[in-house]
């Protein structure tokens, strides 16, 4: 009705009137305002400051005996610190890239001079279960949920997982102390 009144007053036929403009502008302001009001309600679900502050952890790698693995918790997820034997390192290096689903050489997954320590996020890249140590067809890990096999470099070899186990950001602070995150 308002449009018709406006049209009659200005005699502009079907052309947009000032009133149409005010309608659109008011609607746009209301929609924009609603979106801005909703954003904090959505964003509050993202990680809070204290959660982000817990982003790094330190660990003494001498605690891990050769051939063994220690699992620690980092950002709520398990992290595997595996002390590999020479045979396991050799096995990981001698895989041809053609056999890998997510090709990556072993050297890119460890720190130079510290090849015996393999540090991985222990969360299957399929649906996030924790793979079990030393089982599976490739001597690395086996995920009990849906049957993914990982090798001694934590690379996916068989099963539904699409990617290699993730290597977290980490650095050796000293010869024996590693900082993850």
């Amino acid at each position: 009705m308002a449009d018709q009144v406006g049209t009659a007053a200005h005699g502009e036929g079907q052309d947009p009137t000032r009133r149409d403009f005010i309608h659109i502008a008011a609607g746009a302001a209301a929609a924009g305002g609603a979106a801005m009001a909703v954003w904090p309600l959505i964003n509050q679900m993202n990680p809070a400051g204290d959660t982000l502050a817990l982003a790094s952890t330190e660990f003494d790698v001498t605690k891990v005996a050769e051939g063994q693995q220690v699992t620690i918790k980092w950002r709520g997820k398990p992290v595997f610190i595996r002390h590999r034997t020479a045979a396991q390192i050799a096995e990981a290096r001698n895989v041809s890239m053609g056999d890998l689903k997510d090709p990556q050489p072993d050297s890119e997954r460890v720190k130079q001079g510290k090849e015996q320590f393999l540090i991985l996020v222990g969360s299957c890249t399929h649906l996030g279960c924790v793979p079990t140590f030393g089982t599976g067809d490739y001597g690395g890990w086996f995920c009990p949920c849906h049957g993914s096999h990982y090798d001694t470099s934590g690379r996916i070899r068989k099963g539904p997982a699409p990617l290699n186990l993730e290597v977290p950001e980490y650095a050796f602070l000293t010869d024996t102390s590693v900082k993850i995150g």
Partner: protein, 443 residues
């Protein structure tokens, strides 16, 4: 049926006063007392009432449990055990709530199969069906959120697996999971918000149930014959809801509650998993992780697809296809009583749906028929649950996308009666029409 005239007559001065201001007694009367209901509804039609009772039980027991439960990773498991051991009658309330979820799903699946068989989703009832699909989806979400709260091993790793499903969405998947978790893994913020949403959703369900019933009362109930009751047959083909269906529904509810009680009192953990009585440990995943029984068919469909994102799509599509069902079925006959070919496809569909549930609980690599050798087809042994699941998943989708449209066009249906009374009255030895109708009258 909304176009029936209101029969409510206020009986007292107060009722008259109220009726002019808030006609709530009139609404209740027209919806639950004098509401004209087809006279031939069988016991499959009692599950609507049963589901209403299930929802009320879940809300009441849930509110009580929330008075004792602590949504914190350090206290959640212990607070549930405290409810079981120390809170007065807590064991009963929690077992009613946890078994109530299973009972709710048993009833909803029967209710859905009934709608499917008798064509209750067809015009003019499409909106009722779609609202029902929304309720079903909300029920799944609520059940999943609730299962996480005890913070046992199955709770935790179930939450990890299901939230990781969303991580498979290309590009934005990781941001979505981080947002859902409120951190970098399923942790305290996740548990907190899951509790909040688990408390919210049942009330959303109750709201959608209100819409579902409102939409139902526009065309009125479908019935086993599947016809829309002709205007001139109203008096003969319908009976008032009360007392005819209040009593019938009431009897069915009592029988259903007997089964419910048998689970609660004699085998309260039969439908759960022992692993959920181990406190959540993010560093160790249970050897065999499965969802609750009512989600197994969808879990089976998820695992049938070799691609991670493809599996997620297939799983959501298996529920999504239900929403468009009214437009996939091309037959004009509602009830499968009069659809000789379709009823067989329906029976196979029920078996397939149950079979998918069975497959979802098995290890994919396990043999279906033990000891029978087979060969490797593509990526798995033919004699394995992987391939059985794939065959059943194929039928699930073919039923909706191919059989529904094509059988509807090709099939010759049996003659459908003109009214509900006519098949009865045309039978040999039927009583004359007038006296029969008289016998059906209320009172």
């Amino acid at each position: 049926m909304s176009d029936h005239e209101s029969t409510y007559v206020p009986k007292s001065g107060f009722e008259r006063w109220l009726d002019q201001r808030l006609p709530i007694i009139r609404l209740m009367n027209d919806a639950m007392v004098d509401y004209p209901t087809p006279k031939n509804l069988n016991y499959w039609w009692t599950f609507g009432g049963i589901l209403t009772v299930c929802l009320m039980i879940q809300i009441v027991t849930g509110i009580v449990l929330a008075m004792h439960y602590v949504p914190h990773v350090d206290h959640a498991f212990a607070s549930v055990e405290r409810i079981m051991r120390d809170v007065n009658g807590g064991w009963l309330i929690r077992y009613v709530h946890s078994n109530g979820a299973s009972m709710f799903f048993i009833a909803v699946y029967i209710h859905m199969f009934r709608g499917l068989y008798y064509g209750s989703y067809k015009a003019p009832r499409e909106i009722i069906w779609i609202l029902g699909c929304i309720i079903f989806f909300l029920m799944i979400a609520t059940a999943f959120l609730g299962y996480v709260l005890p913070w046992g091993q199955m709770s935790f790793h179930g939450a990890v697996v299901i939230t990781n499903l969303l991580g498979s969405i290309p590009l934005i998947g990781e941001s979505i999971t981080t947002w859902l978790w409120g951190g970098f893994a399923v942790d305290n913020p996740t548990l907190n918000r899951f509790f909040s949403l688990h408390y919210l959703l049942p009330f959303v369900i109750a709201g959608v149930v209100g819409l579902h019933i409102w939409a139902l009362h526009v065309p009125g109930n479908n019935n086993p014959v599947g016809i829309l009751i002709p205007q001139d047959q109203r008096r003969r083909d319908t009976v008032p809801f009360h007392p005819y269906y209040t009593v019938k529904d009431g009897f069915a509810i009592i029988v259903f509650l007997l089964m419910f009680a048998a689970f609660v009192f004699f085998n309260p953990n039969a439908l759960g998993h022992a692993d959920n009585y181990i406190p959540a440990n993010p560093l160790v995943t249970p050897a065999h992780i499965v969802p609750e029984w009512y989600l197994l068919p969808f879990y089976a469909i998820l695992r049938a697809i070799p691609d991670k994102f493809g599996g997620v799509i297939a799983m959501f599509a298996s529920i999504g296809v239900l929403f468009v069902l009214p437009w996939l079925d091309t037959s004009r006959v509602r009830s499968m009583r009069y659809r000789p070919a379709m009823r067989w496809y329906f029976i196979i569909f029920v078996i397939v749906a149950l079979g998918l549930g069975w497959c979802g609980a098995q290890l994919p690599d396990a043999q279906v028929i033990p000891g029978v050798p087979s060969f490797v087809l593509l990526d798995g042994e033919l004699n394995s649950y992987l391939w059985l699941t794939r065959i059943l998943t194929a039928y699930y989708f073919i039923f909706f996308l191919v059989i529904m449209p094509f059988v509807g066009l090709r099939e010759t249906p049996l003659p459908v009666p003109e009214s509900i009374s006519s098949p009865v009255l045309s039978a040999p030895g039927a009583v004359p029409a007038g006296s029969h109708a008289e016998a059906e009258k209320k009172g």
